[in-house]
């Protein structure tokens, strides 16, 4: 066999092996495929993805599924592959609250996400333990997502959330 043919054969074999590898290793070429399989495998979803946000080590996938709101995490593996991260399932939206939300911290990566049930809410403001204030006015449909990273010397935990209407009146407030 000539070298060109051997190379071709190698490429075909590599393609097949890669296919098997990707299927068996739960690694994906595409972050959304990782997200979808992650949900299906934990028997949740499929959620409607409204926003994807990068963070160090992967992506947050913000989505809605029926009455649940989720912010799955997919992690980057070997620079170009994607794998399951954590927290694929969502919280159940309590529609009686003007704003419903949840937050979590995984390896110094903080996320707070939620849903706006009261149309009047035009601005979400959260305050952290160190006094830092994060504000969001552009929502993803009716969902919002805050992400931040902590440092050891300060308190980066979530402390307070407020939802304001267009005239800056507080519609919703909750302390943690």
């Amino acid at each position: 066999m000539s070298r060109g043919k051997k190379l071709l054969r190698n490429m075909i074999v590599l393609g097949l092996l890669l296919y098997v590898f990707l299927n068996r290793s739960s690694l994906y070429l595409n972050p959304l495929s990782a997200h979808e399989d992650s949900e299906r495998s934990i028997h949740y979803g499929p959620s409607e993805v409204v926003h994807i946000e990068n963070f160090e080590g992967g992506k947050y996938v913000l989505g809605k599924y029926d009455k649940w709101v989720s912010c799955n995490m997919v992690s980057k593996v070997f620079f170009f592959l994607w794998g399951f991260g954590s927290d694929p399932t969502g919280f159940e939206n309590d529609q009686t609250k003007a704003v419903d939300y949840t937050w979590a911290a995984i390896n110094h990566n903080f996320k707070l996400y939620g849903i706006i049930n009261d149309d009047r809410v035009k601005k979400i403001e959260i305050t952290l333990g160190n006094g830092k204030v994060l504000i969001q006015t552009d929502f993803y449909d009716d969902l919002f997502l805050f992400t931040w990273r902590d440092t050891l010397d300060e308190d980066w935990n979530f402390k307070n959330i407020r939802g304001y209407d267009a005239n800056n009146n507080i519609i919703f407030e909750e302390e943690y």
Binding site: M1, S2, R3, G4, K5
Partner: protein, 114 residues
Amino acid sequence: MKMDKGLIGGSTILLVLSLLEVTDRYGYEMIKELDLRSDKTFQFKEGTLYPVLHKLENNGYVKSYIVKADTGKKRKYYQITRSGKKQLVEEKKKWEVFSTSVNKVIAGDLHAHA
């Protein structure tokens, strides 16, 4: 008679494949056989055979294997492949057309002079 290298250039594939038609041979053996069959007409630089052989191998017309002789010498034998045999038939046809045409031209030339 010494022949210009360019003249055999076009028919190298035909010559080499013909040499391998019946039996597998190694490079030096092919040179000797060529000398013998052609009565030393084709006096070309022997080393140039190898790029030709390697090209034929790349094209899949021949394949090679190493044989270690009793004397300890390693010889690389070449064997014509099925596609090489097909190619040989093609080359022979081409050669016939070519030589017939050349002959016709020459004959015409002679005729004109006659």
